[in-house]
């Protein structure tokens, strides 16, 4: 590939070249792509209902909320941080959006802004405490997990806020060109955020901070400001997830998003994000989320009990990290 790469070494195998190409061009590990394709192939063989456009849209629709949260998780974990409050903040945002839209009767754009804004505000608080008070992110976001959930229950009085304005419901249930709106919003967000993480200075610095704070600081990156913006971004994305959820079920549910943070982190890790920071891509995370989505959808179509689905996803998580570690050990042995 480069003149220096061939010195005294045999030409790399096709597999190796594919691996390198996949990572360089798509920022996705070849292994996870193969797992996704094989899994889809198996499901297609086992269930006659799997291979259809409407089922494909179903999978994307079912993945949309978790997918948006997983984007947030990729950014934060990629920077060496952690956001355990994703699910709760999503619940809070949904309730705030529904409250503004239903109880105050304000128009859709304001309700949407309130929803995403509430998430961003919670994330800003997370980021400020992490960077200014030097409390570990694990603790801060664990605290926010409780605070946001409690606040959601307080605002909604523990009840589901039902009956959103139709234009808001459209964001969750509308189907322009028979594509569900949440899928459109989710896929657009994923593409934009993929470009941000992979191709902008902001994204490159995010991974560099997660890789080595020292290197990033030496390179003149303002780490505190960057981290705070990351938590704010994470909160805003959780807010977007809350919006999709709320619009989809046409109700602000204060219990929405319970344990979603763990599922989102799982998707990011399966997709190749390094739990300790420094590596990750949105496309990879999307592959991770789709692996889980396909697994769930396929097992649902086969009418397999939900308990086995949880087992299967747990197994895939461990397997993915095993493959990752195996590759890493092989690489550093050079």
């Amino acid at each position: 590939m480069t003149p220096t790469s061939t010195q005294g070494k045999p030409a790399p195998s096709l597999w190796k070249r594919l691996q390198a190409g996949s990572i360089e061009q798509l920022h996705v590990r070849l292994e996870s792509l193969i797992v996704l394709i094989v899994l889809a192939g198996i499901m297609a063989m086992l269930s006659p209902f799997f291979l259809s456009v409407s089922n494909f849209l179903n999978i994307l629709l079912a993945t949309s909320t978790i997918g948006v949260l997983a984007i947030a998780a990729t950014f934060v974990i990629g920077s060496g941080g952690l956001d355990l409050s994703l699910g709760s903040v999503m619940g809070l945002s949904g309730v705030v959006g529904a409250y503004v839209g239903v109880n105050w009767g304000l128009p859709m754009p304001i309700a949407v802004a309130a929803c995403i804004g509430a998430g961003a505000a919670a994330g800003f608080v997370n980021g400020t405490i992490v960077t200014r008070a030097y409390v570990p992110a694990f603790i801060v976001t664990l605290g926010m997990l409780g605070i946001a959930r409690g606040l959601a229950l307080v605002i909604s009085d523990g009840r589901v806020i039902y009956g959103l304005p139709p234009s808001m419901v459209y964001l969750g249930q509308g189907r322009p060109l028979s594509i569900p709106m949440p899928v459109i919003i989710f896929v657009t967000t994923a593409i934009v955020m993929h470009c941000v993480l992979a191709y902008t200075r902001y994204g490159r610095h995010t991974l560099a901070i997660g890789d080595s704070e020292n290197a990033a600081r030496t390179a003149g990156i303002n780490i505190e400001r960057h981290r705070r913006s990351l938590y704010t971004l994470s909160g805003a994305l959780a807010g977007l997830g809350g919006l999709l959820f709320t619009a989809r079920i046409n109700a602000g549910d204060p219990t929405a998003g319970l344990t979603y943070e763990l599922t989102a982190i799982t998707a990011a890790i399966i997709g190749g994000t390094n739990l300790f920071g420094g590596r990750g891509s949105i496309l990879g995370t999307m592959v991770g989320a789709l692996i889980m989505g396909v697994l769930q959808n396929g097992l649902n179509l086969l009418a397999v009990q939900s308990y086995y689905q949880q087992m299967a996803i747990g197994a895939v998580l461990i397997l993915a990290v095993f493959i990752d570690q195996y590759q890493l050990r092989k690489e550093t042995r050079v």
């Binding site: 094989v38 198996i42 269930s47 079912a62 523990g158 959820f245 046409n250 109700a251």
Partner: protein, 323 residues
């Protein structure tokens, strides 16, 4: 090696799950909450028994917890891919399945509400017509609890009574507590409900509530809890306070733990719902509807006050359905 191990893993997993029921025309799709809850488990068993008796093909799906609102919607959408003739759902709340129900209705699939989880007003607003809803009457179940409490304490009894509600905002718990309160006021005005607090379906929380109220009202006469788990929590607190046998404690559900406690003479009674019967009758009625017959819009499955006497006698025909 790594790439193959992952592929093999996936293949093995898929093979493990390949033992799925045969795909058949005219399938009934039944969507439960979580089968981990014995109540829904029993209802699932009733559905299976009913379907086998009626000779119809069916699939039963459930979700991992009673909070998996979105996932239940996802599973519901996936079920539609199989083109069932009927969709029988126990929705986690009154709104989460609405988009799926709407799509099912457009596809001409018959809809059934298991255990009255859907709100008729919301259904009307959304333009969704369900074929029928089936379940116990929660208001009546609460009323039965009150009747039995008055039977035990006497119509002219006086003193404080505690009501432990369900999750705040949950319709089922509200109906049971309301039914209890209304009937109690009617039958024994001397018994005063001194507190009606949400126990969030949580045994531990119910125990703490009972503790607190016993401190305030040591002469507590009766406790009504909106489910058995909370009633059993209350039992523990009452016994720990040394007042075992002095307080009439009544729960709702008739689950196996409650049955054991009643046999031991600790829990006074449980208004048993008969989820098995609900599931069984649901399928039977779906068959009638699918075959073009007439079905009532609201089918009420009776509830049964389970006491030590009833169980010892063993003559009550509905006892068969207490699981």
């Amino acid at each position: 090696m790594s790439r193959f191990s992952s592929t093999f893993g996936a293949t093995a997993m898929a093979a493990l799950f390949a033992v799925s029921p045969a795909f058949a025309d005219g399938e009934y799709a039944i969507l439960m909450k979580t089968l981990a809850n014995p109540f829904w488990g029993a209802m699932g068993e009733g559905v299976e028994a009913g379907a086998e008796e009626a000779g119809v093909a069916y699939i039963v799906q459930s979700v991992e917890s009673d909070q998996a609102v979105e996932n239940q919607l996802n599973v519901c959408n996936t079920m539609l891919e199989r083109n069932p003739v009927a969709l029988v759902t126990a929705a986690i709340n009154s709104t989460n399945l609405l988009p799926c129900l709407k799509a099912a209705q457009e596809a001409g699939i018959k809809l059934v509400d298991l255990d009255g989880n859907l709100d008729p007003a919301i259904l009307e607003q959304e333009g969704i017509d369900i074929t029928f809803s089936i379940g116990s009457d929660n208001v009546k179940a609460g009323g039965q609890g009150a009747e039995y409490m008055v039977e035990q304490l006497g119509a002219d009894a006086e003193g404080p009574v505690l009501v432990i509600e369900g999750l705040s905002g949950n319709v089922t718990g509200q109906k049971r507590a309301q039914g209890f309160a209304d009937t109690l006021a009617e039958l024994a005005p001397g018994l005063e409900i001194v507190a009606s607090l949400p126990g969030d379906w949580d045994r531990g929380k119910a125990a703490s509530i009972t503790n607190d109220i016993l401190t305030r009202n040591p002469d507590l006469k009766g406790i009504f809890a909106a489910n058995d788990g909370m009633a059993l929590g209350a039992v523990e607190s009452v016994y720990a306070a040394g007042k075992g046998g002095e307080v009439v404690i009544i729960g709702v559900d008739g689950n196996s733990d409650a049955v054991k406690s009643i046999e031991q003479g600790r829990l006074t009674a449980s208004v048993a719902q008969l989820p098995y019967l609900v599931g069984k009758q649901a399928v039977e009625n779906v068959k009638v509807a699918v075959d073009g017959g007439e079905v009532e819009e609201h089918i009420t499955v009776p509830t049964l006050v389970l006491t030590k006497e009833v169980m010892d006698a063993g003559t009550e025909p509905l006892l068969e359905y207490v699981k």
